[in-house]
Assembly symmetry: C2
Homo-oligomer: 419 residues x 2
């Protein structure tokens, strides 16, 4: 039997240890393939060594550690998350999921599993250095080639960054797809499991330690520009104004109302820029953002169409013009039904409440889902805090997640053997 | 009979000529007592010389030109406006009113008036250089002493600026009140008339060339700070948000609604600063401005109290805190009823429509009104434009204003003689 208390201690110790590997003293700041990423890799390789796992870095810098099944031709289950962080991050976003992969392998390594387990530590997920997220998982599923020429703030390309890290520079970009066929291009893949902190307050609000992700939301991100006419705040009567902010404010209110009325919809205006921006001048122009997310693309698109129509009405009523630019329109990703069912059964067997919830943020699982069944287990985020130095997890919650993970592997093994 | 066409031509030519006197080539930028102010003074002194008027600069640099009545002990009517400008100004804001004073004197100088006329070209009204407006008129009514130690961006004080301009430096600050008693401290003052461009679109909207100012609005200016909690736009459901902008947007909508429902009230939110200000982060803090104006202080204060109460409700509903800071609370200034009646009669005699309107901006007349009857005649501002290089007046409107002004002087003369 697994000693969950001890294993939980090792998980938390590993997260704390790796929090020391940073590019900025006093913070956790670990961008894609920075020197601190190499220290994280060495740390995890030594854990893999103790467990007797084969490890390698693939062409895009993903750390991969493999527990080989003794069953000939056994399929592979992938477990992982990412090892990069946002600037001044917490110690658990991403890292926890990779560490959980190692811990789960440690828990089951003595057993005869009918599948191999490969732990994935993705090199890039946050999109900080190259402004596009999911480099690591995209490379794994074979959709990263177009990203090789992206450049960071210093003009260094993805290809050059990979090369500078010492990763098979001679064979790029051809090396990227070749990380794939060995396991993913054939049918011999069971799927992908990612454990991740929720990064939101839902599980805390429900009093649950873990939750099963139903889907990763689809997202619309837009920029709206309301153009009216700047005029004197004292001498322009209300009926002769063309107040861009008055129109934009109605739109903001409509966004909040629509999202409150629509289950699961979140709508956020996070940016508002007002010109000329003086207290005694009626605003002539307002540029604002809209971030709209839902697990069902139809719901999101219907809400978007209605909000844009309302925005146009608010603008027209005030002789204000409206232009909109779509910055992002990303479809939702449902998680694998069979894997979700296994996670629910596992949590139930562990005597835990196990709510379904939607991931409002993007994750590597949505990329992996393009090629295999994918699922996510969320761990409660106290106060919903993430991307912040105070980000944390509760020890008992991590232990719950380990229990669910181990039981998930047992149930999966039964299924594979029964098949 | 006055040749109004020729006189209008001289008014517009004078405005155009003085527009060349500027501190910034290619703009009209003429701050308090800059060298270009001296050129304006010389230009107007030569006009006064042609008219045979005595001129002087008083201690704060107001240009004063006097048409002396031959009636012993005759009272004085003041006519004027200001000669300074905002940066990159138009050619008429302020200047037009001073030039109108000279033109009206020119129109009536051959007649035997039972009052003296003193044309005032105030040296400072815009508040650009020392951040406090109305230096010129405040000095005239004896309330400028406290301003002498104010300093400009270069650390030069009002007192030093006056001294540098060559104005009786040895007797400051005692020289300021002494500009007053000669005419204003006794009862021998008829009042003050100011002609000014409207700086708003009301007269254009009404199809009127001129309008009679009922009152100069009172103003409230506040800063509101809504503090909620920044959180992830994807992972924070609507019911668990503390969105500072959602509260602030409701407040902005309420401001527009309240002002639309209340005759004469204008409410403007011109500044909105959102933190952290990222499209995918629920706003944690919003600082916004409120500018509220009305001709009746009771109406303004009642509206302000209601709006702040609503803002508090919107904040509380979202677990957001609200703090407010009052930046300005200035009472309204009603214009002189007898003078307004004379202006209406004069405009009626000139076969003009002559709407009452409220001044939404501050003017020297509100300072002069502290010591004597004061009135303002507004001239239509095409497109409501002012404080802008494209600010303009229509030639026919200036002619209408001259007709009203001359008739006003005739009617006033009748009243004084009849009294």
């Amino acid at each position: 039997m697994t000693n969950f208390t001890a294993l939980t201690g090792r998980v938390l110790a590993a997260c704390a240890d790796m929090a020391r590997f940073t590019e900025v003293e006093g913070q956790i700041t670990r961008p894609f393939l920075a020197p601190s990423a190499g220290l994280v890799h060495e740390y995890l390789r030594s854990w893999a060594f103790r467990l007797g796992l084969a490890t390698r870095l693939d062409a895009v810098g993903n750390l991969r550690a493999r527990l080989e099944s003794r069953v000939p031709g056994a399929p592979t289950l992938y477990i992982g998350s990412h090892l990069d962080t946002v600037p001044n991050a917490g110690a658990f976003d991403g890292v926890l999921g990779v560490v959980m992969g190692f811990a789960l392998v440690e828990a089951v390594q003595g057993r005869e599993l009918p599948f191999s387990v490969e732990v994935l530590g993705f090199s890039e997920e946050e999109g900080v250095r190259f402004a596009v997220p999911f480099l690591g998982s995209r490379a794994l599923v074979g959709s990263a080639q177009a990203m090789l020429s992206l450049t960071d703030a210093e003009g260094v390309s993805v290809q050059e960054a990979i090369s500078a890290f010492g990763l098979r520079p001679d064979s790029l970009p051809d090396s990227l797809p070749d990380s794939l066929p060995e396991a993913l291009a054939d049918a011999n893949t069971l799927g992908y499991l990612e454990v991740h902190i929720e990064q939101g307050p839902v599980l805390q609000d429900l009093g649950a330690s873990v939750g099963v992700v139903e889907a990763i939301v689809g997202q619309s991100r837009l920029e709206l520009t309301f153009r009216g006419r700047a005029s004197h705040a004292g001498t322009t009567p209300m009926h002769l104004r063309r107040d861009a902010l008055a129109a934009a404010a109605r739109f903001m209110v409509a966004c909040e109302e629509r999202a409150r009325q629509t289950g699961g919809l979140v709508a956020t205006v996070g940016v508002v820029n007002v010109k000329p921006g003086a207290g005694n001048v009626v605003p002539g122009e307002v540029v604002c953002s809209l971030d709209l997310r839902h697990a069902r693309d139809g719901v999101r698109r219907e809400a978007l169409a209605e909000l844009l129509s309302q925005a146009q009405t608010f603008a027209t009523e005030r002789q204000v013009t409206l232009t909109t630019t779509t910055k992002l329109d990303e479809a939702a990703t449902p998680m694998s039904e069979p894997f979700r069912a296994l996670l629910h059964r596992a949590a139930s067997d562990a005597n835990l409440i196990h709510p379904d919830l939607v991931s409002g943020a993007g994750h590597d699982a949505q990329i992996m889902a393009q090629r295999m069944p994918a699922a996510m287990l969320f761990v409660r985020s106290p106060n919903g805090l993430s991307h912040h130095p105070d980000e944390m997890v509760l020890e008992t919650d991590v232990q719950d997640a380990l229990r669910v993970g181990v039981r998930f592997l047992e149930l999966l093994a039964q299924e594979v053997q029964g098949a």
